[in-house]
Symmetry: C2
Subunit: 351 residues, 2 copies
DNA sequence: GCAGCCTAGGAGAGCGCTCTCCAAGCTCTA
DNA sequence: TAGAGCTTGGAGAGCGCTCTCCTAGGCTGC
């Protein structure tokens, strides 16, 4: 009978058993040596390590995880609304600075802890359910949640499942979950103060989607601060955090309020779009119209003129989220906590 | 004796055994139903699914993987030179458009296949060895390699280990590995043609690090094309693909060749930096100095003026890499193959 | 010199699943 | 009606590891 089976059977890798045989000890002893647990006779210790080298043994993480219930993996879940799988939005989201900065910040901590990051995108309710099921089984030791939709059931599902979790950005609905967030309202207030101090008279705002917390906080913080300084009314146009939407929003704002001499834009990407619209409209920045962005992403520095913006220390926040998660994985009894970062104003040329 | 042990034992989740008991069948039958394998009596089929619902059973992927040797995970390995773990470079790399575009492209395919992406960064030789060991054990079904150093041992290690792998960008040394690459030389030639056709006289180039293939191909492609059109000598300054290095390189070029009236910059990020340097030097773009970038990343559109650039369809390439990998995972006997994408010229305002 | 204690190493039972046998029951033809 | 040939479900052996017993042996103390 010939082997007509499809998949090629990989050659058998050395197992604990093999090492034990070579070393002339039991499987348990090899395991103890490898994991450095309990006192093993120094001589045997050496014999075992020698056998490991001789056989080329590498522990099988899967098998180990099955029994220890620890995987050395943290999941980064990007939770999105009901979107089709072939929606190009996600590709753009990943390419946006936001995502990269978060990943970079997370990895800076996880890497040193020898933990890998498993990226997952969930859109449908079914995907969410399956994800939580997998998490309960310890597919990952913990999860970092990047929640995009305003009223996302995922944070609640994850906490109910008892899976260690940390959100980046606070949940829209009150959920007892760990999170790391930015004082978005304070940041917006900083922008308002700066523009008013600059002597701007008619100050508009371009906001993000109204239903996400980070976005609405920026609007309310801005409005409150403006009101306190005598600007009871703020012309507002909303975009969706993309460059194109910022371009369109600026055009609209210019159409509705031709006398506008300053604008606070809720993120740098939209601010870059706004800059383009202003240039096309023949307005000079900052002389005719002052522009303040938000995030201090790479786009701020690349823009012409470089953007005055609100610094959002996303890398630090993500790193903190990773540390928080790791501590929760270590001690599951810890109560949920949150860390709020304070934004700062970075003054460049645009305002 | 009280339970003083540290970790809280998670409550026991229902297993196949439990479902089998509830359904009154054997474990094997439940497994068959769940995996839709073979014909099972329609009545039993229903009974089993009912029991699954009743118990809230979710298969344990870890246990399944241990026996099937399939994990439903693909690793994205960013291989870097000997760098310290706390080197901030990686954070910046992740935040750069390149990384995000690759991840976005990969996910667009993997997501639909229900495969998750595990991100790993390896710097030291020891990390590389451990990674390959884990991969041999089937920690991931396959691996996408993003190789940064010029002479990286990883591609060879991975192929030697018999792990399905696809590189994005060809390896510097000849290794029988699957890869997806861009015809970088053709792209550079496109830039040269365009600048010459525009009537530019003294055309310089800002290159990336000399030892990475993508970078050296752009240099050689540019030089060759220039020579063919009578420009035997090209002033060249090299950077490292960051915005700041582009800024510095442009200043240097301007200092060495004040009469330069065009520059081809090996990526958009550096081109943005070059734009800043030109602005500060009082040169108008494109009137005084024409600038052509490379990549067509988001930075190209955000720049002022928007960059004329060479389109690098990174998302498509990453998606193709994912498809290629998935097919190699399915059929491990397939011979290594490569796909080369053709770049195109995108004309905007800078040249 | 022997009970009692401590320590090091082995045996073996799982972790939760898949998958190969194998037996039982069925249909169908000679 | 018996035998071949098929379908269907169960038993049980792993996958590679950890970890809890348990035993054997060396040590101390009276």
């Amino acid at each position: 009978m010939t082997a007509t089976g499809g998949r090629v059977r990989a050659e058998r890798l050395p197992t604990l058993e093999d090492v034990a045989r070579v070393a002339g000890v039991s499987r348990a002893t090899v395991s103890r040596v490898i994991n450095g647990v309990r006192n093993v006779d120094p001589h045997l210790h050496e014999v075992v390590w020698h056998a490991v080298g001789q056989t080329g043994y590498v522990p099988n993480r899967l098998a180990r995880s099955l029994v220890t219930r620890r995987t050395g993996t943290v999941a980064l879940v990007v939770s999105d609304s009901e979107r089709h799988d072939d929606d190009p939005f996600m590709g753009r989201f990943c390419a946006a600075p936001y995502f990269g900065r978060v990943v970079g910040g997370l990895m800076s901590v996880l890497r040193q802890a020898g933990v890998q990051l498993a990226l997952q995108i969930v859109g449908t309710a079914e995907q969410r359910t399956r994800l939580v099921g997998d998490l309960r089984h310890g597919q990952a030791d913990g999860v970092i949640v990047l929640s995009l939709p305003a009223h996302d059931p995922l944070p609640r599902m994850v906490t109910d499942a008892g899976v260690p979790a940390v959100m980046i950005g606070r949940p829209a609905d009150p959920v007892p979950i760990n999170y790391v967030d930015l004082a978005n309202d304070t940041g917006a207030a900083l922008a308002a103060e700066h523009l008013i101090d600059r002597g701007c008279q008619l100050i508009g705002m371009i906001s993000g989607p109204v239903d996400v917390p980070a976005s609405s906080d920026r609007v309310s913080g801005f409005r409150r601060s403006m009101a306190r300084r005598g600007h009871g009314w703020v012309p507002l146009v909303s975009g969706n955090f993309t460059q194109e939407s910022g371009y369109a929003a600026m055009q609209k704002l210019l159409g509705e309020q031709p006398a506008v001499d300053a604008v606070f834009v809720a993120n740098d990407l939209m601010a870059v779009g706004a800059l383009t619209a202003l240039r096309e409209a023949g307005r000079r920045v900052p002389d005719d119209v002052a522009v303040v962005g938000f995030d201090d992403s790479s786009a701020a520095l690349a823009a012409a003129p470089p953007l005055t913006t609100i610094r959002h220390p996303l890398e630090d926040m993500a790193a903190e989220a990773a540390r928080l998660l790791l501590s929760r994985v270590e001690d599951r009894t810890m109560r949920p906590s949150s860390v709020i970062y304070e934004p700062t104003l970075v003054i460049r040329a645009s305002a």
